[in-house]
């Protein structure tokens, strides 16, 4: 036991004496929280648009003012002809052009319906979608206002919405669980696999193997610091999320930490497994990136909702731990649900952890025997 403690201490010193490792451990979570909290937003504000007003009446003037005044749009150009739209798109100065036909105001007041066409720059598909949504909302709002003025006897449906879990519609509610998942994979799986393979590549694993430490002690010693540091990372992220964006943990913090510990264990056992199948660091790095980072970024539903992807991705994601973990974190942190809602996901993670542990324990033994030859 004393030997093991000494070994763990050595591993800690290894980590702490290299500022670059600390960048990964604490710089990345901090930077991600700040980027996702302050810089990257999935909604659109101040999008440059152009208007082509063929009607030049009071209503179109009012609508254009309304569009410009909204936080979503910034009316940059008043175009005179249709042909000016394409050059403006090609220069990339506007995202959409809104075209009012010549009889817009007249038709709206006389016939009660008028058409507007929005020409959006489809090369930025996401913005195009949002712009159409925002414009429709602004125009509907305007025409709803007209309805109330002209009709009082006919029923007008009053629909009210309650935005659950995220009443102020902040985009970081989506991101924080994803950041935790990403960081934990990075600190647990990637870092352990790389450090173990490093010892192998430099031959210092041999030295450890001939030491009185038992193989399992070597593994524990290698893995323990990362378990601890990953946990510290979780706490740092949760504190930052709370202090920086005022995003508290809605559910039980103890449950959240426990689930994180389970996930760290899972990550560590994946890391050990990767290290048994890679002999060179670059291979370990490559495997970790392709097999761990990409799926975490893509198939966890962290940024891109899985339900929108081709079905195949959905099925593939069932076999990937991040998908279930993001679900768990989101439930506890944001929805504030208890264990009853997430026991299924937790069970899946437990089974996966056991699977990877057994796999890596079996494979590691083979490796050690080879090393001892």
């Amino acid at each position: 036991m004393k030997r093991l403690m000494a070994f763990i201490r050595k591993e800690f010193l290894h980590i702490f004496r290299d500022y670059r490792t600390l960048i990964i451990l604490f710089g990345i979570p901090a930077a991600q929280i700040l980027i996702f909290g302050y810089a990257v937003r999935t909604d659109l504000t101040n999008a440059g648009i152009a208007v082509l007003d063929n009607a030049h009446d009071e209503i179109t003037a009012e609508l254009i003012t309304k569009l410009d005044a909204s936080e979503f749009f910034d009316v940059k150009y008043h175009l005179d002809s249709y042909n000016e739209i394409d050059p403006a798109f090609k220069k990339g100065t506007i995202k959409a052009a809104i075209v009012f036909p010549g009889d817009f105001g007249a038709r709206l007041t006389r016939e009660g319906s008028a058409a507007v066409s929005i020409i959006a720059d489809g090369s930025e598909a996401n913005n195009a979608n949002l712009i159409v949504g925002y414009t429709t909302a602004i125009l509907n709002d305007y025409s709803a206002g007209l309805t109330k003025q002209v009709t009082s006897s006919v029923p007008v449906i009053n629909a009210e919405v309650r935005m659950f879990f995220n009443p102020n519609l902040k985009s970081h509610f989506m991101f924080v669980p994803g950041i935790i998942t990403l960081i934990l994979i990075l600190t647990s799986a990637l870092m352990t696999s790389v450090t173990i393979v490093r010892e192998k590549e430099f031959g210092s694993m041999e030295i450890l193997l001939v030491s009185p430490l038992r193989p399992w002690q070597i593994i524990i010693g290698k893995v323990a610091p990362y378990f601890f540091l990953s946990l510290v990372d979780v706490i740092v992220i949760l504190l930052m999320a709370w202090l920086v964006f005022g995003l508290p943990v809605q559910g039980s913090v103890a449950l959240l930490i426990a689930e994180c510990m389970l996930y760290i264990l899972l990550g560590l056992s994946i890391g050990i497994l990767v290290s048994t199948s890679a002999n060179k660091m670059e291979n370990a790095i490559f495997i970790s990136f392709i097999a761990l980072m990409l799926p975490t970024l893509l198939l966890s539903g962290f940024i891109f909702p899985i339900e929108n992807m081709p079905k195949v991705y959905d099925y593939v994601s069932w076999f990937l731990p991040p998908r279930w973990f993001v679900e768990i974190i989101r439930s506890i942190m944001i929805k504030g649900t208890g264990f009853v809602f997430i026991w299924k996901e937790t069970m899946i993670l437990v089974i996966m952890t056991l699977f990877f542990m057994i796999m890596s324990a079996r494979r590691f033994k083979i490796r050690l025997e080879e090393g001892e030859k």
């Binding site: 670059r20 960048i23 066409s117 449906i157 659950f164 660091m281």
Partner: protein
């Protein structure tokens, strides 16, 4: 010059004989294109809607039919009461719950104001906003038709029809949007990771010492390390583009020459970064960490899947120094919109300045000694 040729031959041979590198050069573009391009999408196929109908009237039935008939909503559940409705949101079984109060049909008959209540899962704020605006427009259309049915003149209930058209990508296919961006990630990953790891490996295994004691000049050494990855980067770009064209059938509107020229300038900046980070690291692990940290920031800030206009001013100013942001913009404009040289000259000029600056700083920082 002759020395440089020898060094280059050595580098290419080393790359060719390293089975891992040789494989990665082919596999990375294929994997990235096939995995990333179709997966990265914000497209909303459908919203899972639950309806708690307390009214059970023809009016409410008609409204529900209209909602489930729209391609956007999928009726997944019919909870009986409010707490069940809430439960559906908590368990994630529904994205949105519409509650129709029991006096809805009375309201539609004119007795009171007809009300509807909607509970919307807003964890994903963007989706929540869009689905709410879709729902209101379906409700509005329904309301309008009811009023007109009762004999009111259409002019009494003015409605504006919005007909969207998407230029350069008529079906609003997200693959069009992502592919140019993924190509940027591809050459960043190839250029930065492969070149940097190669440089640091020589340091880590000590073979750099052997080169350091030869009469090879610093610039020759750097050129011999950078040129192979410059070429590989461009070849991988061509490979990625071909995959995009064959597999995803993405059109290429602009000039290929312009596209490759911009990517080449960008690669110079990336290789400059690789060189610079390699001076900061003495092991491949350290290099990886430093490089990953910066690349992650550069890519996330570049506007690959989020609009840069919505970012605060400091973040937009940061992008002045972010080569990824320039190429992200240029690629989309050239590939999809067919923008010409004059359209992108400003971005291209700034990118060139940045590339020259990055590579000069890196060369100055690089020391030909152990």
């Amino acid at each position: 010059m002759k020395k440089l040729m020898f060094l280059l031959r050595k580098e290419f041979r080393q790359i060719r004989r390293n089975p891992f590198m040789a494989r990665a050069i082919i596999a990375v573009p294929i994997l990235q294109m096939l995995l990333l391009v179709p997966a990265v999408t914000f497209e909303m196929k459908h919203i899972d809607l639950a309806v708690d109908d307390n009214d059970h009237s023809p009016s409410s039935a008609e409204l529900i039919t209209r909602l489930s008939g729209s391609s956007f909503f999928r009726l997944v559940a019919t909870p009986d009461n409010y707490s069940q409705a809430e439960g559906l949101l908590f368990s994630g079984k529904a994205d949105m719950v519409l509650i129709i109060p029991d006096d809805f049909s009375e309201g539609m008959a004119g007795a009171t104001t007809p009300r509807l209540q909607v509970l919307n899962d807003a964890v994903n704020a963007t989706t929540a906003q869009l689905s709410w605006s879709y729902l209101t427009s379906v409700v509005r259309d329904y309301n309008r038709d009811v009023i007109i049915d009762r004999g009111a003149a259409p002019s009494a209930i003015p409605g504006i029809n919005v007909s969207p058209r998407f230029w350069y990508n008529p079906t609003l296919d997200y693959k069009y949007y992502m592919l140019p961006g993924v190509l940027v990630i591809l050459i960043t990953a190839i250029g930065l990771m492969m070149c940097g790891l190669n440089l640091v490996r020589e340091k880590e295994t000590g073979t750099i010492e052997q080169i350091n004691v030869t009469p090879v000049m610093k610039w020759e050494l750097i050129a011999s390390k950078v040129i192979p990855f410059f070429i590989i980067g461009l070849l991988d770009l061509a490979l990625g583009l071909t995959i995009g064209w064959i597999v995803f059938n993405i059109p290429f509107e602009g000039s290929l020459l312009l596209f490759f020229a911009c990517s080449a300038i960008f690669l110079v900046a990336v290789l400059g970064m690789a060189l610079f980070f390699s001076t900061l690291a003495s092991s491949q692990q350290q290099f990886l960490f430093v490089a990953f940290f910066f690349v992650m920031i550069f890519i996330l800030m570049s506007g690959i899947f989020t609009p840069t206009e919505s970012m605060p001013l400091w973040a937009q100013q940061f992008n002045w120094f972010n080569p990824v942001a320039y190429l992200m913009r240029i690629n989309r404009m050239v590939m999809l919109k067919g923008s010409g040289f004059t359209d992108i000259s400003r971005d291209m000029g700034l990118l060139t300045v940045l590339a020259v600056a990055y590579i000069s700083i890196a060369i100055r920082a690089y020391r030909k000694r152990a």
